[in-house]
């Protein structure tokens, strides 16, 4: 019982990270019908830059803030120079490969700066574990899923209450019509990628104290975040967040009772199964086919 509860709580923590990453994929997809395959590296940038910032003697809060902002800038640049030139064509292979290329470059730069090893980000959230019904967790781990939910609700409020949020919705419904209504589509897309990158880098900062920060930490987290986005339905923000939390919990149980390799098999296998049964994800909207 205690073990199960432990898995549940740690699952929620890592699930919150997946949820934040997946939320980023949702935002990018809604804006551009394209995503950033280097989104995992945005997360890595957040974690690694925060650690480097602390190394440089910055206070923790400032280091984290700067890391997240840098992640956002990365997102904007990536959209402008790697995604936008290729969104016009009808195949997705262009931006897939360019963003993968940028990811490889960023990862290799980070390896050079950071070295090949992993280091945790010091955080008050992991100083002392708290005991809940016999399960030991760090406050940081408890905070992560809450922050993911907050991010989702915040994003929803942004969409419903602000001009830019409504413009984002308009662009996601119909890019051309939005442009004809005087919306600067390129700016909305750039803003969306920036927001997605902020969430991604934020996830990196949040997870860096729990799992260690390293130049390669982003690859698998990014791919899983994408898998989660597809399971939840990439068109639905609440869907991807719920799927993220669920995915994290299932992972922890499989990892705990079987093995790490089995965790990946079950995780990615379930993504394929979901996609076969629900092509638009569990909570996604069906894309209409017209002749």
């Amino acid at each position: 019982m205690t073990t199960s509860f432990q898995y549940l709580l740690s699952g929620l923590a890592i699930g919150g990270i997946y949820a934040l990453v997946a939320l980023g994929f949702h935002i990018m997809w809604s804006a551009a019908k394209a995503v950033n395959f280097a989104h995992g590296d945005t997360l890595m940038l957040g974690g690694v830059l925060a650690v480097l910032g602390v190394d440089a003697g910055l206070p923790l809060w400032l280091a984290c803030l700067l890391a997240i902002v840098a992640g956002g800038v990365f997102g904007v640049l990536l959209e402008r120079f790697a995604v936008r030139p290729f969104t016009g064509s009808n195949t997705s292979i262009g931006w897939m490969l360019t963003t993968i290329a940028v990811g490889i470059m960023v990862e290799s730069l980070a390896t050079m700066q950071f070295g090949g090893f992993s280091r945790p980000l010091p955080s008050p959230g992991i100083e002392r574990a708290v005991n809940i019904f016999g399960a030991g967790v760090y406050p940081q781990e408890l905070a992560i899923p809450c922050i993911a939910l907050l991010a989702m609700f915040g994003f929803r409020a942004l969409q419903q209450r602000t001009l830019i949020g409504r413009a984002m919705q308009a662009v996601s419904h119909n890019r051309q019509a939005a442009a004809l209504m005087g919306i600067d589509v390129n700016r909305v897309v750039a803003f969306s990628f920036a927001l997605a990158a902020l969430f991604g880098a934020g996830a990196g900062v949040l997870v860096a104290p729990v799992v260690q920060a390293s130049a390669t930490m982003g690859t698998l987290l990014g791919l899983k975040g994408f898998a989660v986005a597809i399971i939840g339905g990439i068109t639905s923000a609440p869907g991807v967040v719920i799927a993220g939390l669920g995915f994290g919990i299932v992972e922890k149980f499989v990892e705990g009772y079987i093995s790490t390799a089995a965790r990946e098999i079950v995780g990615f296998g379930s993504m394929i199964v979901v996609l076969l049964i629900f092509p638009q994800g569990l909570f996604g909207k069906k894309e209409v086919f017209k002749v």
Binding site: M105, S108, T219, L223, A261, I265, M271, I272
Partner: protein
């Protein structure tokens, strides 16, 4: 095959023979053999990426599957290299079919993610299933390659690899220039149109996946034999990226592109070593550079420049054509056909786009379907051609029920169509567009195509001349070799008609063929419809242009709000009060009455 390509293959053979003679040491030869193995993967993947337009980022998974299957067969059961690779081909082929299955429902980036997931699953199964795969330590002690008991070391093994790559490249080339290659290209450029003329899109995508998988599987076995040791960390996501990049860098869809790409990316790491720490960065930068500078790939760009310098003949010789009449007669089959739709109802959510619409196209007639915007004409057309499924009602062609059949099956039963928004295979030539239409009438198999058997040659020749004949019928002979997307709009419409006719329809469905045409073009269309009708093809014409309808139609059916409100000879329908009301609103009298009541 053009002289140019013959030279290419001769040069390729020459290089493959010359390399072992010039290789300085064993390491150099081994590296070249590694390139040959990667080349086989890339050539196979090119069928998937270059022809079918599908992206796989899980090729390393299939490579691993083949590698492990071959290695296990060789170490446990003592299979030689031939049988081990056959076993690997079967296993990876089966997984190819499984991977193709999701394409029925998802494409593009979704499919890419499925393949990524597949690759990661294979990698982790290899780690987890220790009893079979040796887990993270991998499989060691793979015997040196032998065939039928004869040991193959050094040059003989090289010979087998070189021969495999050469033959694979040749077969892939032959496949591209056959009905299979054309159909794959067609599906990737407009799936809707391809299905509407009888191409089984799912079968073509599955075929492409299976070919790519078998190539990766066989290459995997060769790799296991070459390396004598395999472990899960050889088959990672970044290898999948590299395999895809080989195809893109060399030139997706081109014959030698994947080979060139494989060569560059096998040797590149050797040269990048001088960058030491910057090696991975340089690799990423190169990938980026390729996408921006040569998105068509090395050979794709060269071919593009070549075509700009050396102009090919735009048209074809009309003498090569078979008269369209002969093509459409289709041997002894009955020509004239009757379409019967009974009480068709189609609902989208709460909206009934069609409600209990019945229609009968009599054998050999030109039947016009008209109605104001939103009357349900397009829904009707999309339903009887199989793209929408009706909520209620039935429809049949000469007594054969069509309900529940897929578009390509309906097309094969004799119903071909054109589209309101033209749906051409833009990057195929005008002639090839029409030749895709013949797909269902060619019955040579994949082996015929790969080996270019006499049967293949005969049928292709017939197909070509029939296509030329149809181009003559619609007057596009002088544009035959032009890419379809460069045709002016009016010509695109005509090409669609020729392509639909190539499918050998007994009922031709024209969806607003006059939309956007000039008056003169409409006159030509009028004449064309008469010519086609005279050849015995029944026509269902969906149109707005009243003049055209009055001129060519034998019967006119009027739809309004999803219901048939009149169906008769043009002259009768023209005077029908309900038709006038549908088009011009209520009559004056009625308007007066309404006004009086108010």
């Amino acid at each position: 095959m053009t002289t140019f390509l013959r030279l290419g293959f001769a040069l390729f053979a020459l290089i493959l023979i010359a390399i072992p003679l010039t290789a300085g040491n064993e390491y150099e030869l081994r590296l070249f053999m590694l390139f040959l193995i990667y080349g086989v993967i890339a050539v196979g993947l090119n069928i998937l990426v270059g022809l079918s337009g599908l992206v796989s980022l899980g090729q390393a998974g299939l490579f691993a599957l083949g590698s492990y299957t071959g290695a296990i067969l060789a170490t446990r059961l003592g299979f030689d290299i031939l049988f081990a690779s056959l076993g690997a081909a079967v296993v990876s082929g089966i997984f190819g079919v499984l991977l193709a299955y999701p394409t029925v429902r998802v494409r593009g980036v979704y499919l890419a993610v499925v393949t990524i997931a597949f690759g990661l699953i294979v990698e982790n199964v290899a780690i987890e299933w220790q009893a079979l795969t040796g887990g993270t330590t991998g499989l060691t002690g793979i015997p040196s390659p032998n065939i039928f008991g004869f040991p193959l070391s050094g040059y003989p093994f090289y010979g087998i690899l070189a021969l495999t790559l050469f033959v694979a490249t040749l077969l892939a080339h032959n496949l591209k220039w056959s009905r299979y290659g054309r159909a794959m290209l067609a599906v990737s450029q407009s799936e809707t149109a391809a299905r509407s003329i009888g191409v089984n899109a799912t079968a073509m995508r599955t075929l492409a996946f299976v070919i790519a998988s078998i190539a990766a599987g066989v290459a995997g076995t060769f790799y296991a034999f070459l390396n004598a040791y395999i472990s899960p960390d050889i088959f990672t996501f970044s290898d999948s990226v590299r395999f895809l990049l080989m195809v893109i860098l060399g030139g997706a869809g081109s014959t030698f592109g994947p080979v060139v790409g494989a060569y560059v990316l096998t040797y590149l790491p050797e040269h990048l070593q001088q960058f030491a720490l910057w090696q991975k960065f340089a690799y990423g930068a190169l990938l980026l550079l390729v996408m921006f500078v040569v998105p068509r790939g090395i050979l794709g760009t060269l071919a593009h420049l070549f075509r700009r310098v050396v102009k090919t003949e735009r048209g074809v010789n009309p003498a090569e054509g078979t008269p369209a009449g002969e093509t459409l007669r289709q041997g002894e089959r009955i020509q004239k056909v009757e379409l019967l739709a009974r009480d068709l109802t189609v609902r989208f959510g709460g909206l009934a786009a069609l409600s209990r619409a019945s229609l009968r196209v009599k054998p050999g007639e030109v039947h016009a379907l008209i109605g104001p915007n939103g009357a349900g004409k397009s829904t009707f057309v999309n339903t009887i051609s199989g793209f929408y499924s009706p909520t209620e009602g039935s429809f049949e062609l000469d007594g054969v029920q069509l309900g529940g059949r897929k578009p390509h099956e309906i097309a094969r039963l004799g119903l071909a169509r054109t589209f309101q928004n033209t749906e051409l295979f833009g990057e195929l030539s005008v002639l090839e567009n029409v030749m895709v239409g013949f797909q269902q009438r060619l019955d040579y198999g994949i082996v015929d195509a790969a080996l270019r058997t006499p049967r293949f040659r005969r049928q292709e020749k017939e197909c070509r001349s029939a296509a030329i004949g149809l181009l003559d019928l619609v007057g596009l002979m002088e544009y035959a070799n032009e890419q379809a997307r460069f045709l002016p709009f009016g010509h695109q419409r005509r090409l669609e008609i020729a392509r639909a006719l190539a499918a050998g329809p007994r009922l031709l469905l024209l969806d607003e063929p006059a939309a956007g045409l000039t008056t003169q073009e409409i006159d030509e269309l009028d004449a064309m419809i008469r010519r086609i009708s005279a050849l015995g093809v029944s026509i269902l014409l969906i149109e707005h242009h009243v003049d055209l309808i009055m001129a060519v139609a034998d019967t006119v059916t009027v739809l309004d709000y999803g219901q048939v409100i009149a169906s008769d000879r043009p002259a009768v329908v023209q005077d029908d009060p309900r038709v006038i009301e549908a088009y011009f609103g209520g009559s004056l009298n009625k308007a007066d009455q309404v006004g009086a009541v108010a």
